[in-house]
């Protein structure tokens, strides 16, 4: 990590992130909760959650921190499968997250 940041920079970052994140979250909710979107838009929106999650899983598991790991030495791949299967069997987010993390830590020690 580089040099420590000035207080002014930290405060500007906090304020900027607060405003941009709230705007991103609130504006569509405000605009779209008054009108009924057409059928095709509703269908498109029904595919959005799964698409974002698929993209996030691929990104987090295959490219942790933006770096590419060779698939055979990436403990995240089997650990993600364990987390997904645990959720499918138990329907517990907590259990699935812990099973994934434990698998990851164990495999990382081995690989």
């Amino acid at each position: 990590m580089g040099a420590e940041l000035s207080t002014a920079a930290v405060l500007a970052l906090i304020a900027g992130m607060a405003v941009t994140n709230f705007a991103l979250r609130a504006i569509p909710l405000t605009l779209l909760s008054r009108v009924d979107p057409p059928e095709i838009v509703r269908r498109w929106l029904s595919f959005v959650p799964i698409s974002v999650m698929g993209a996030l899983v691929a990104s987090e598991v295959l490219f942790p921190g933006g770096a590419t790991l060779p698939p055979l030495s990436n403990p995240g791949i089997p650990a993600a499968v364990v987390a997904a299967l645990t959720f499918r069997l138990s329907r517990s987010f907590l259990g699935a997250t812990m099973a994934g993390v434990i698998t990851y830590v164990l495999l990382r020690a081995l690989l």
């Binding site: 990590m1 580089g2 420590e4 940041l5 207080t7 930290v10 405060l11 500007a12 970052l13 906090i14 900027g16 992130m17 607060a18 941009t20 994140n21 991103l24 979250r25 609130a26 504006i27 569509p28 909710l29 779209l32 909760s33 979107p37 095709i40 509703r42 498109w44 929106l45 595919f47 959005v48 959650p49 799964i50 698409s51 974002v52 999650m53 698929g54 993209a55 996030l56 899983v57 691929a58 987090e60 295959l62 942790p64 933006g66 650990a79 993600a80 499968v81 997904a84 959720f87 499918r88 517990s92 987010f93 907590l94 699935a96 997250t97 812990m98 099973a99 994934g100 993390v101 830590v105």
Partner: protein, 251 residues
């Protein structure tokens, strides 16, 4: 928080099951959101450790988590700032990474008609990958109310902020949060959320296609195609959802 019960009296219009009082709904939301709390606390602690190493005070780190509530976006902000990026450049990059909140917000909107402005603002403020997944699952089951969704958001916010405070104030004690596998907690939670959100075969295919698109974008970028990596998630998700919509047309 005392104004919430009043603000949350309205119910989701589509909902037909007899539901508890707003206070009961809020409590049900707290319990539905507990796994999110337990998942956020350690990741928030990791953020606190990294932020304090970069020169944030405990309260600055806590304020950042409390007002932004932007998991991955906050980590990216730290790594960009630590690498010497300016504040405006950092803000633009984190906004792009968090563009998916626009998609989540648009997806929730039709379900929140008739919900009062303060309640809607709170639900927008606490909208994250995890609260969205828990709430949209609840809505699809007909079990979510504005009060329960507010409870999910509140407990998630508590986990993130309390975790940040613990991490930032104990930063000197934890030498390496990665030793505990904290760096994989988000990925594990996303994997479980993927299963939770996959309702049918076409959902699974769409989600896998979005993942494959991320892979393709990384590959294209490594071959010299100039695409900003912070756009990858949004490009892949919008493309996959659009292809799925076109492919399912007329069925």
């Amino acid at each position: 928080m005392s104004s919430f019960p009043d603000a949350l009296k309205e119910r989701i219009p589509q909902q037909e099951s007899g539901s508890p009082s707003p206070a009961g709904g809020f409590a049900a939301g707290l319990s539905a959101g507990l796994p999110v709390f337990l998942g956020y606390a350690p990741v928030g602690a990791a953020f606190g450790v990294l932020a304090s190493r970069l020169g944030f005070s405990v309260w600055e780190a806590a304020a950042c988590s409390a007002t932004a509530l932007a998991g991955a976006g906050q980590f990216i902000a730290l790594s960009l700032l630590g690498g010497g990026a300016t504040v405006p450049a950092t803000l633009i990059a984190t906004a792009v990474v968090n563009l998916r909140y626009v998609l989540f917000s648009a997806t929730l909107a039709p379900h929140l008609k008739g919900v009062s402005r303060p309640a809607r603002s709170w639900l927008a403020f606490t909208l994250t990958d995890e609260t969205f997944a828990v709430n949209i699952t609840g809505i699809r089951k007909g079990m979510a109310t504005p009060a329960s969704m507010a409870g999910v958001g509140f407990i998630a916010w508590c986990g993130w902020v309390l975790g940040t405070i613990a991490g930032a104030s104990g930063a000197g004690l934890i030498s390496d949060p990665r030793a505990w596998g904290v760096d994989f907690a988000m990925a594990a939670m996303f994997s479980a959320l993927f299963v939770a959100l996959a309702e049918n075969r076409s959902h699974v295919v769409t989600g896998v296609a979005a993942g494959a698109l991320v892979l393709a974008l990384h590959w294209a970028s490594s071959m010299g195609v100039r695409i900003e990596p912070s756009w990858f998630i949004v490009i892949a998700a919008i493309s996959a959802a659009t292809i799925a919509t076109v492919a399912s047309n007329g069925r």
